[in-house]
């Protein structure tokens, strides 16, 4: 094992130390913002540098099996042996770089974005804690340790969504995220139990080694295990039917949306499928479910994104949609492609969120300066911002072209690879062609709604307001600097895994081979003829161009009115704006019945009336009634008592003396 890999504990521990220090500061000296920034960003920079060393160690040694670093026995009980252990291999190395790198950039951005917030120290404490848990998630060497990170990031997500907890809706959104995640975690738990009882271990190395011999291909057990795991993924990565928390999660500060709800945490589900690729490969039905749910989510979320006015909601549904692509990728067995899209998406989506953050920041300050209360996130209040914010506009366009899949940008390669792999799978099962088509349509919609967002935000006339217009400013360098870094990534991350027809192709694919080779035996050869490849690349280009040009031609930003004066939508537009009414349906089908049952049926009837009323107090009433009957003989009159007494004596004498 390279020496640098041994330092991985420090990568994890530094953010935790940052949390402890910033947490203490937030309670004791919340006004010490310089110290908070220094600690909060400093630990991340150090952590990132050490992570680079760790990954460098993995790169030079190119190990065939993972390095497992065991720290202590965590839960030894009977036959159950769970160690607190980290695992470093090629897959966790990718995640290590994405997580520490993007986190560092977003921490720096936050210094500018959150600078005026009174909860600054608390914010950085939570953010550091999040990075800690995220690293535990990607480094855990067994399911339970991964689960610690898995739930821990959910906790941080909860805390950060509800960061401005004085707004009841924001606090609600945080709670909703946690509970929806918990529904997914239930699946994760069940999967762990089934794996333990089938294999007798929960450590990744042992489970993956034993899996081929333990489970038969397509067997019930492995299918149930992987479906339960996927339930966990659906919760964490916002897939149908558990996606509704993610758009609400936009209540959190924008850098949080960028870090947690776009780049890192929500991709944990994809990581989990990639991590357990052996298990999913043995369960083709589950894999198909993963791909199908991914495709459905990609399309469904894209339709909603078409009609959102809140700039962050557009990006949120876009994230849900892109996560759908990733699941399509890992579902068809293209684990490297899924991870590739995860990586490129981390760059361009973080960039989009941070860019939108800098827009919101500008609008917020403008409205603050004139004391007007308008929605700083509504695109109808924006428009023409490219004049005031040229840098942000430029970076945002880079990210938009990347996500829309314009050739040579990173998103083009990663999305295309997923679609190509799905297409290849269509050769043995026609259903994959359907998924592929769904993916293509979703790609068209993606290009369309992203262009719509750019058009409404940065182009056309400005709708912010006469006085406010003068107050719109480009963000400070501490915010645009991170944008630049991410923009570079959004352009060039595609080089990681170029298609087979280009030189230097498939680097990420080869890098991940030691991790995914266990599943290769169960999958058909995902090889693509170069004609088909060119055809698909060409089609992807056409689709992206069609989406962008379509939006550019059909949408008329000049006709938009500010949010306050805008007309009410009707028909399908309204349905899309209200997100197909899914939240309302869940509310009526699940939330209300459960609340009603708990309150009325269980508590007020079962507990209070039946058990306590009928049985407990009922028996007390019976006892009291018997006592009342007895008390009728107690007249209080001595004469009566004496009479009864004498009678009693006489009766007894009669009975005794025969």
């Amino acid at each position: 094992m390279p020496a640098s890999v041994g330092w991985v504990w420090l990568v994890v521990l530094l953010p935790l130390a940052g949390f402890v220090a910033n947490g203490a500061l937030s309670l004791l000296r919340p006004e010490a913002k310089r110290a908070v920034s220094a600690i909060g960003v400093g630990v991340l920079v150090l952590s990132f540098l050490i992570a680079v060393g760790v990954v460098g160690g993995v790169a030079t040694a190119a190990p065939h099996s993972p390095y497992v670093l065991t720290y202590w026995q965590w839960m030894p009980a009977g036959g159950l042996e769970i160690d607190l252990a980290f695992q470093v291999d090629q897959l966790s190395a990718v995640m290590l770089m994405v997580v520490t790198g993007v986190s560092m950039v977003i921490h720096i951005f936050s210094v500018g974005y959150m600078g005026d917030d009174p909860g600054y120290a608390r914010y950085f404490a939570y953010l550091n804690l999040f990075v800690f848990f995220m690293l535990v998630l990607v480094l855990g060497a067994n399911f339970p340790v991964m689960f610690v990170g898995w739930e821990g990031v959910g906790l941080c997500s909860y805390l950060l969504i509800g960061f401005w907890f004085e707004n009841n809706a924001f606090a609600d959104a945080g709670k909703k995220a946690f509970i929806m995640n918990r529904i997914g975690d239930f699946g994760f738990l069940i999967a762990m139990f089934m794996i333990f009882h089938a294999v007798g271990s929960l450590s990744f190395v042992e489970v993956f080694e034993a899996a081929p011999g333990t489970f038969e291909v397509g067997g019930t057990t492995i299918t149930l295990i992987t479906l339960a795991l996927f339930l966990g993924c659906a919760g964490k990565s916002a897939q149908i039917p558990l996606y509704t928390w993610l758009p609400d999660a936009m209540a959190g500060p924008t850098p949080v949306s960028a870090l947690i709800h776009a780049a890192t945490m929500v991709t944990a589900g994809v990581y989990l499928v990639a991590r357990t690729n052996v298990l999913f490969a043995i369960a083709p039905v589950s894999s198909f479910v993963v791909a199908a749910v991914g495709a459905a989510t990609a399309l469904f979320a894209a339709t909603i994104a078409l009609k959102q006015w809140d700039i962050k909601k557009v990006l949120a549904y876009s994230t849900v949609s892109q996560l759908g692509y990733m699941f399509m990728g890992v579902g068809v067995g293209a684990y490297a492609a899924g991870m590739f899209h995860l990586t490129t998406h981390a760059f361009f989506k973080a960039l989009l969120f941070l860019g939108s953050g800098s827009v919101i920041h500008a609008l917020h300050h403008a409205y603050h300066a004139t004391h007007r209360h308008e929605d700083a996130q509504d695109m109808r209040n924006m428009g023409g911002l490219r004049r005031a914010m040229p840098w942000t506009t430029g970076f945002m366009w880079v990210a938009t072209l990347a996500i829309a899949g314009v050739p040579l940008f990173s998103g083009f390669f990663s999305k295309d690879e997923i679609l190509a792999m799905t297409f290849v799978r269509g050769h043995d099962a026609g259903a994959f062609y359907v998924l592929w088509m769904v993916g293509v349509v979703a790609a068209l919609l993606t290009a369309f709604y992203m262009t719509r967002m750019m058009l409404y935000t940065f182009h056309g006339p400005n709708r912010t307001g006469e006085q406010e217009r003068g107050h719109l400013r480009e963000a400070p360098w501490v915010m645009t600097g991170p944008l630049l870094v991410l923009a570079v990534g959004s352009v060039f991350a595609g080089l990681l895994n170029l298609p087979a027809i280009l030189p230097g192709s498939g680097w990420l694919h080869h890098w991940l081979e030691p991790v995914t080779e266990g599943s290769a035996a169960y999958l058909p050869d995902l090889h693509l003829g170069s004609d088909t490849e060119w055809m698909l690349l060409g089609l992807a280009t056409v689709v992206a161009a069609a989406g962008i040009l379509g939006a550019w031609n059909f949408l008329k930003p000049a006709q938009l009115k500010p949010a306050r004066e805008a007309p009410v939508e009707t028909g399908i537009q309204r349905v899309l704006l209200r997100k197909w009414y899914v939240d309302e349906i869940y509310d009526w089908l699940v939330v209300r019945p459960v609340m009603w049952m708990s309150d009325r049926a269980f508590w007020k009837v079962m507990d209070v009336k039946v058990i306590d009323g009928a049985f407990v107090n009922g028996s007390a009433t019976v006892a009291r009634a018997l006592g009342w009957v007895g008390s009728r003989f107690q007249t209080g009159s001595v004469g009566v008592y004496l009479f009864l007494f004498v009678m009693g004596v006489l009766i007894l004498m009669r009975a005794v003396i025969r």
């Binding site: 030894p76 509970i179 089934m194 269980f602």
Partner: protein
């Protein structure tokens, strides 16, 4: 004299003496004496942690003094892996309970603190008794101080709650006494030895086979009421709501454990045939599941924070019952860890409820809101404790629930799956309460000057928080100490079952 020989005697005797001293000391010194007494008691018990020999299931620190030789009653006490942590939990909780009552109890302080210490003896006695008669005596002894704690220092409906608590427990314990005496006489008739010795009972328990179902039923009722299992649980919310803070803490933290401890120590080992009979298993597992889900759902709609925590106890103890009845090493170890956890986390929640009450003079969740800005430290501790109660990995709650569920899954996969939904419901009720208590819009100007945690309150909560994290991150010392006893229990209970199964197959293994 060596520690092992006198420690249990000292632990049982010292609180009584301290209680006497409190009665004799002036009123204003009562709580100081009580604190000193409770701390000394805790310090006396601490060496148990190291002196305890982890590798063996045998009783340790055993002490025997004849008491009523004519009837074979002996004062016989000892500790094994199962009771060790119950003893330590008790001695650990009591100083905190005294500290937690510091400002809450304003009248009849001497009597209050003296009763607390007498209660300590009663509770410790239940956990260490190895003579059924002595066990019964301690079981009743601890009932009386608790009755007075609720009935004298409780809330407005305290008399109702105290009587309800007393009658519920008493009904169960009287049946248990009948069962104990029945076993005693039957064993006496069969062996000719008059003895209430636990091990003597255990060795000769075969002779009561014809009445095993009835006897088990009597024990079951006694313990199930104490746990409490659905539908014997309605005394709990009332008792908790009316009891003073320390009363709730002790009630939840220690008294509830007596039920599950009783199952582990007596009901299951005595009557494995009945306890593991498929019908009985179905009934009990279903009741445990109802407890988990029902407790959580009813907790969700409680307007009163203490009542919410009370119902959440029913849910947590449902996990313990499931773990005990799955009877695998993991599940029983998990059950014991949950018993410890519940003492720590729910105890802390009750302390926090008391602290909120002392500040706002109400326990209505709706009367708070947004106070995280006013009292950030209290909010932080409340969040952490709530998360541990939810079972967030990294805190103690996760370890217990995970072990119970993973251990039970092999025995009852469907029941375990249903129980695992409890983790969702737990998040539902606690996060709802958390949001309405410390988050949301701050709308109560009268709460704006609420003081944050005082040093005394930090002293109460600090040790509990430390334990929450300790057990969450490094539970091995705990698991290590209970392992041998649990393994022995599991093996011993499964033994007759295996023998029966073998007898049923004609020709045995051929």
């Amino acid at each position: 004299m060596n520690y092992a020989a006198w420690v249990l005697d000292a632990l049982l005797l010292f609180p009584l003496l301290a209680g006497l001293v409190i009665l004799l000391s002036p009123e204003h010194l009562a709580k100081r004496v009580a604190l000193a007494g409770a701390v000394v008691e805790f310090l006396l018990s601490v060496p148990l942690w190291w002196m305890f020999e982890p590798g063996t299931a045998a009783m340790q620190f055993e002490v025997v003094h004849p008491w009523v030789p004519g009837w074979g009653i002996a004062y016989r006490v000892g500790v094994d892996g199962i009771s060790l942590f119950m003893v330590l939990l008790t001695t650990f909780t009591m100083p905190l309970a005294v500290l937690g009552s510091w400002n809450y109890i304003r009248d009849k302080e001497r009597a209050y603190y003296a009763l607390l210490l007498v209660l300590t003896t009663g509770m410790l006695g239940v956990f260490v008794a190895l003579d059924l008669f002595v066990f019964y005596v301690f079981w009743e002894i601890m009932l009386i101080p608790m009755y007075f704690l609720i009935g004298v220092w409780g809330g407005p409906k305290r008399i109702y709650a105290a009587i309800k608590f007393f009658l519920f427990t008493f009904v169960g314990s009287l049946l248990m006494l009948v069962a104990i005496l029945t076993i005693y006489f039957m064993v006496y008739r069969a062996t000719g030895v008059q003895s209430f010795d636990y091990h003597h009972f255990l060795r000769n328990i075969e002779v009561v086979r014809p009445f095993a179902l009835l006897l088990f039923g009597a024990f079951f009722l006694g313990f199930a009421i104490k746990v409490p299992m659905f539908p014997f649980h309605t005394w709990l919310p009332d008792a908790h709501v009316e009891a003073p803070t320390a009363g709730s803490v002790i009630l939840a933290g220690i008294l509830l454990k007596m039920g599950t401890y009783g199952f582990l120590r007596f009901a299951v080992p005595f009557f494995p045939g009945v306890a593991l009979h498929p019908t009985m298993v179905n009934v009990i597992v279903v009741l445990a599941l109802i407890g988990i889900i029902y407790g959580a759902l009813v907790a969700m709609v409680q307007p009163d924070f203490k009542k919410l925590v009370a119902y959440s106890s029913i849910s947590h103890l449902g996990f313990v019952m499931l773990g005990i009845w799955a009877l695998t090493v993991q599940s029983v170890e998990g059950a014991i860890i949950i018993m410890i956890n519940h003492g720590i986390s729910t105890g802390a929640l009750f302390f926090l409820a008391g602290m909120l009450y002392e500040r706002a003079h109400t326990r209505e969740v709706a009367a708070f809101g947004g106070i995280a800005r006013v009292v950030p430290a209290l909010a932080a501790v409340l969040s952490l404790v709530a998360l541990s109660s939810i079972g967030l990995p990294g805190t103690n709650g996760f370890i217990g629930e995970f072990l119970v569920l993973i251990g039970s899954f092999g025995e009852y996969p469907w029941a375990t799956a249903v129980a695992a939904t409890g983790v969702i419901f737990a998040a539902l009720y606690l996060l709802r309460a958390l949001q309405r208590l410390i988050y949301n819009k701050f709308e109560r100007p009268e709460l704006a000057r609420m003081p944050d945690l005082s040093v005394r309150e930090l002293l109460v909560l600090g040790p509990l928080v430390a334990c929450i994290l300790w057990i969450g991150i490094y539970p091995r010392p705990f698991l290590h100490r209970v392992e041998a006893s649990v393994e022995a229990l599991v093996e011993q209970v499964h033994q007759p079952e295996a023998a029966v199964a073998q007898a049923r197959t004609p020709g045995g293994e051929q």
